[in-house]
Symmetry: C2
Subunit: 387 residues, 2 copies
């Protein structure tokens, strides 16, 4: 049965889950209104704040990362509000759709897929907005569809200078992979999902809300019930939830956050950095081209062009032969790129395996000679030693 194959998940989510997290997940559930569960909510909330480097509230929602981003948008804005949406990939596109669905007036700041958003474009538009009509800036930190990381630090400084606009940031594949100092960067709303850097299965998502965001929520007139964050905030005072939460996923979250604290920020972020370098540099050594601008590579996923090879066929070969699941391209990139996830519970062995698998497959297809595979692994090895 395929589910029981010895699968290596090298996609940008769901990511691999450590045994001790799976063990926690598989425990008998407890009552969600019990003292024991309240204790869990208290400690996971504390650790979520640690991970977000913030004193803001961090709320846990049962739902996907999209639910968390929607919650951020519909809890702080009102119909007709003017917002900037950064769009340089599929997720940026999605937030434009959400904003439009809820009747917001969207000013798009676009950049070609594979390239980062230009912070100067945000600066220009925000500075011009003397009447302070722009209510929020919505963007994706790590664009999972293309493997690009946007310069959130710079963009958020321009948002801060505007003073009025809220920042609503999709950090789904950046939290837990690189530093997202929510307080230092003044990020108002930060959304993320469990099946990413958190190292737990999908089903939970998280929203960090600043005081400024809560203040804006007082005036928001968009209808919402399940995703009304005020209900979550009110219940969080008693370490509780407005609706039955995914209890077992909270067991898993607790365990995973403890593992993250044990490993420490430094080690987690360095690990992601060296894996990013190892995969991207090895890909080049294999004569492959990176899809994303090399100066702005995401720490969690590397998109690689397959040129004259059909990317879907290529990743199928790797799945069938080596049990390594890679992601394909989305929308117009389908068949043109593969995306190697190196997010969450990934070790150096996973990295050399995927390089060896990609290399061997290219050799089999007569695309490269075997010595290049050795070269690519050597390059990877150099970066893996880096720390």
């Amino acid at each position: 049965m395929a589910i029981q194959q010895k699968l290596s998940l090298m996609i940008p989510g769901p990511t691999p889950v450590p045994e001790r997290v799976l063990e926690a997940l598989g425990r008998h559930p407890i009552g969600h209104r019990s003292k024991e569960f309240q204790d869990l909510v208290e400690i996971t909330t504390k650790n979520l704040k640690w991970l977000h480097q913030t004193e803001n509230d961090v709320l846990t929602i049962t739902g996907s990362g999209t639910a968390a981003m929607e919650a951020g948008i519909i809890n702080t804005l009102s119909k007709g509000d003017k917002v900037i949406c950064g769009e340089n990939g599929k997720f940026g596109q999605r937030w434009v759709k959400v904003a439009q669905e809820f009747g917001l007036e969207v000013i798009k700041i676009e950049s070609e897929w594979g390239t980062p958003l230009n912070p100067e474009n945000f600066k220009t538009i925000l500075e011009k907005d003397e009447k302070k009509e722009i209510k929020a800036v919505i963007l994706t930190h790590s664009e999972t569809s293309t493997g690009v990381i946007n310069d959130l630090k710079s963009i958020s400084s321009h948002i801060r200078n505007h003073e009025k606009a809220l920042s609503i940031i999709d950090c789904v594949t950046s939290i837990g992979a690189c530093s997202v100092p929510v307080d230092e960067w003044d990020l108002d709303i930060v959304a993320s999902g469990s099946q990413k850097g958190y190292m737990i299965p999908p089903g939970l998502s998280f929203v960090s809300m600043s005081q400024k965001a809560w203040k804006a929520s007082e005036e928001s007139n968009l209808p919402k019930f399940y995703l009304n964050l005020k209900s979550y905030k009110k219940n969080l005072i008693n370490n509780s939830n407005p609706y039955t939460p995914a209890v077992n996923l909270v067991f898993a979250l607790d365990e995973a956050l403890k593992m993250m604290k044990d490993e420490g920020f430094n080690s987690i972020f360095k690990r992601h950095r060296k894996h990013k370098l190892a995969v991207s540099e090895a890909a080049k050594a294999l004569n492959l081209k990176l899809f994303a601008d090399e100066k702005h590579l995401s720490p969690s996923v590397t998109a690689i062009k397959t040129d004259n090879i059909d990317a879907e066929e290529f990743r199928k070969k790797i799945k069938n032969k080596y049990d390594i699941l890679l992601a394909g391209g989305q929308d117009h990139l389908k068949g043109k790129i593969i995306r190697v996830g190196h997010l969450g519970y990934i070790n150096d062995r996973d990295i050399i395996s995927v390089i060896a698998a990609i290399g061997n497959t290219l050799v089999e297809l007569n695309e490269i000679s075997a010595d290049l595979v050795g070269e690519a692994l050597k390059v990877a090895s150099f970066h893996l030693k880096e720390i």
Copy 2:
């Protein structure tokens, strides 16, 4: 550590989870866009339709039962629409709040908590609506807060006669506990949640949508994104999901639905019926009074008055001494009733344990003599033999 106590969950959710379901839950996740996961979606969808006794679409959402009910409401209705809401408990109240939040005009049909909704009231209002202005009837089948089951069969027949109005039904604690023949009763939208009769942990919810409901969705103008059921329907054609679903909970769902099919409707429903009778009759033998109208007892939860005893203290004693978690009263019923859940993966031993625990505690409190406990267990035993 309290989580590892030998806890017996006798609350109306989360309900106990079978070992084989927990084992499935604790497997390594797989990619949600993989063939293997599509196969799982295909089989679970088929089995969900079996459980709902329907040919309608049954969609799986990552979220609580409240998310599923909200989805049913916001996908089929428009601002200003007139709807009837049946309200005889906390969940009935909640659907009124959801309807009002989204700008619907609510006609309430109320009944005192503990009593069932009167089908004749629905008949009268629906028959009077000659202009067919009523767009939906929203109600709760099994009212978890009071242990009352409403006469959905009769009410749905009046909705059918109206022809225009949709039925939007909270079957959260009825599906899997008693027969809910969706097609036979012409139920348009049926919402339920995983941590109930499904025997899996919380985190998934389900919405059954009739053709009439889909037709209505074409005209619905309420804003929605994460809970836009059209996206789920569109993806279900390929056994897929619009957003990353709670993959591991779907593993659990698959296993639990297989267990339910193995046990069969007859046995599942009879088991819930005899447990309901055993608990309610034994409670009376212990000199306790039932909160709900005895002719309309829910198959999944029995609410018991504790009169001069503080119900919260009472259930704390039972938790501390016997590791049995009971539910308390909600809102104005807090401290006045205990609610014994007998929903999902419950066997006869669970039933005699909870009766013995309640009985012993009453004896300890000098409320009754020990012989009544023997009597109550004898009464329970009679009902447990019934099938």
